[in-house]
């Protein structure tokens, strides 16, 4: 299904971009008091905008098959190169947010289910409600204000101190991994420090959603007969909860986490802007501001691919959690 979905997305995105009113070349360069119509015409030609829609679509799709996402209108560089530069930052942030979200959500979800209607449960669920409701940029700015401006504990923005960044050899593009590979503990600590606040801001929604879903599925599982049987056999409560209940309760949770991985990778535009995190979200925001249609198309394609792959991953994990499910 992956290939037809991606093809559908490609056609949809391309068509949508062409339905936006206005001429992108005119929007980008036509404002200049000194641009000539000849120049605008030449740029349209270079970007294939002078060709009929179906020819443009054919050229776009044939380029896509070869892995060619086109050339950025504003930066005069291949779109794929721009995406490649930004992808590691987005992956690293998504990973940080994922770790934060899971570390927070799983204990809260379990405890809330086991101690249903207790103070812990009510407090946790209220916090989860706030976590879902609060916009990312507000939470981000609050974190910056508290931990960076007031307490001066963590940096406000970026991925690494620029001077440390100069000395860090770029191997994978993932700063934490590169710091470990090159045995650079200063860079490692600095990268982790830079990752903490954006990870919390991005991972808060994941933590809140996963905690709520896990709680409700745990409550359901804990009422099942086989749990009563396990308790009747005299198994310790901890064993019953972690070994018997959690594994089954994780199936709906994994579905939610799978969707959320897509959101973490593709829905991070605001957080990346607030924390000056140089990922794909920032690239997309810049491209939208500058009407750089080829970059927008490229980024949307990668986002779509991310969601498709996250869903595929969820299906694979299902089979691991419950061998009765087949791919």
């Amino acid at each position: 299904m992956t290939i037809p979905i991606m093809l559908g997305v490609a056609i949809l995105v391309f068509t949508a971009m062409r339905f936006i009113p206005g001429d992108p070349v005119d929007v980008m360069y036509g404002e200049s008091g000194f641009i000539t119509e000849d120049q605008l015409e030449r740029m349209r030609k270079e970007l294939n905008l002078d060709k009929p829609f179906h020819v443009q679509l054919y050229l776009f799709l044939s380029g896509l098959v070869r892995g060619d996402l086109g050339i950025s209108y504003t930066r005069h560089r291949p779109v794929w190169d721009l995406i490649k530069e930004r992808l590691p930052a987005t992956v690293e942030l998504a990973f940080g947010a994922f770790i934060f979200g899971i570390i927070i959500a799983i204990p809260i979800g379990i405890v809330s289910a086991v101690k249903q209607y207790s103070t812990i449960d009510r407090t946790s669920m209220a916090a989860a409600f706030v976590g879902i409701s609060i916009p990312g940029f507000i939470l981000g700015l609050m974190l910056i204000l508290i931990f960076s401006v007031t307490l001066k504990l963590l940096p406000t923005a970026g991925r690494i101190d620029p001077i440390l960044g100069l000395r860090l050899k770029d191997i994978t593009g993932l700063h934490i991994l590169d710091s470990i590979i090159t045995r650079n503990p200063r860079a490692l600590l600095d990268s982790i420090k830079h990752l903490i606040l954006p990870s919390i801001a991005l991972g808060a929604v994941l933590a809140a959603i996963v905690a709520r879903v896990l709680r409700s599925s745990m409550i359901e599982v804990l009422r099942a007969d086989y749990i009563t049987l396990a308790r009747a056999k005299g198994l310790r409560g901890f064993i019953v909860v972690t070994k018997h209940a959690l594994r089954n309760a994780l199936i709906p949770t994994v579905t939610v986490v799978g969707i959320q991985i897509g959101v973490l990778l593709g829905g991070n535009m605001i957080i990346e802007c607030v924390f000056a995190w140089p990922g794909m979200g920032r690239l997309a925001v810049d491209a939208i501001k500058e009407s750089d249609y080829s970059v927008i198309q490229g980024v949307v394609m990668i986002y779509a691919l991310t969601f498709v792959m996250a869903n595929l991953l969820v299906d694979i994990i299902y089979t691991f959690l419950n061998p009765k499910i087949e791919l």
Binding site: S32, F34, M43, L145, I163, R186, D286
Partner: protein
Amino acid sequence: MYRKSLLSLTLVICLFFGFAAGELTARAAPEVEEEKVLTIAIHADIHSLDPAAYSHRMTEGVIKTMYDGLTGWGKDMSIQPEIAYEWYFVDDLTAEYKLRDNVTFHNGEPLTAEDVKFSFERVINNDICGAACPRKGLTGTITSVTCEDDYTVRFHLSKPWPILFKMLSHQQIIPKDYFEGLDPDPGKRCEKFAAAPVGAGPFKFVEYVPGTRLVLERYDGYYGDFPGNADKVVVLVMPDEASRVAALKAGNVDFIPEVSLDTALGLDGDSDVAVTTSVGTRGRMVEMNVTKPPFDNLYVRQAMNYCVDIQEIIDTLYGGRGTVFAGPLFDYEDSVDPKLVPYGYDPEKVKKLLTEAGYPDGFSLVVDAVPPHEDWATAVVGYLRECGIDAKLRMWEYKVIKPELLARNRTMFVRDWGSSALDPEGYLNRKLESGSNGNFSGYANKYFDQLLARGRSELDPEKRKKVYWEAQNIIYNEAPWIFGYSIDAAALYKPGLEGCLRHPIDYLNAHRITIP
């Protein structure tokens, strides 16, 4: 088994981070950076490090830190010498620049007339490694460049071009031999140059991480003044304004060269932040569609100018930090007619003019605007209602409304406009010349067009000034716009730094900044 694996994994992660943190604490303290690092935060990524491959004002401001031009822009918008120390018109169609003989590029090569010729030919020939050059329009009527000797360059024009010296201040010089030696394939040289750029400016390139940072270090062989003391400059890309301000307050950033006036006014008095301002270079105006009722009537257009209190808008929304325009031009332009005065707020004249125009009870109107002009567009609508006009505001995305404006389907439009020449040319011709694609009012006047054509080629400054005075008077009287205003531009910096300024062309001027 499963639980054991999970526990082991957790243990390994904890041990690893524990070790890393311990190691770091032990090592972090003794290393002290002795060099002075100036950290600057900008709002958007630069488009290219190749000075021929961008059309983006902020990119120009940033890369000027690495590149010098023949001339540059001073903070008072005057032309300042850089690589050239003298420039003049030899005749109507030839301009000559005399170059300093002590300028070297960052790679040590001396800068000669050949480098200047090469740098300009890339733009004039509209060919940057096979692609169109987005800066071609900035070279106007220049047809060729010749070297008279090693340090004299001539520009040959197809038609007289009075703003040549202003416009050439936007171009930067690169080393010909270095560029051509980057790759045997000319198509690959631009990309390679942008990855390892060499200029003749006060700082040389160290590293560029797209979307993140540009790192530069002081070039010891710089020929010009270097009053500052920064050894390194780090330019960070931070799109969110609140985050940039937070970074400055937290001490992570030294200088924010561009910030909204609202933010700057809000921080006035904050001991962690110093504010500096300069006059703005974008004019704000309300364009009226003169091709359709009611604005095809001169009295109605003039009434609109008396209806909106521009000074009050500046005072209320921008703390008085702005300038009201008397006519279409900025009051700091040397071509502005000093005799013109702003229309001023006069509700009585509005009533009289609307009655004479046949609209004693006003009319209905949708005022269109684009972000970020919602605040003052709302004020304009308020004034129109007070004048008895049933006005409503509609906000648009600019690229959506632009075709509508050019098709003359809209009635009144609120926005701003700027010109890199800081001259009537590039501004009046784009906004008011018949058929221009920035002329949203649909204004068309053959005599006015002729005046613009004369201004475009008149080399005598006094005669040119008179031409533009006449053109301004026509526009002032015919009032196709509600003449607007400009608001001051602001920058923020860490208190204690010296030399930080809000430059009108967004130059960072890092070599003039002293870090305590």
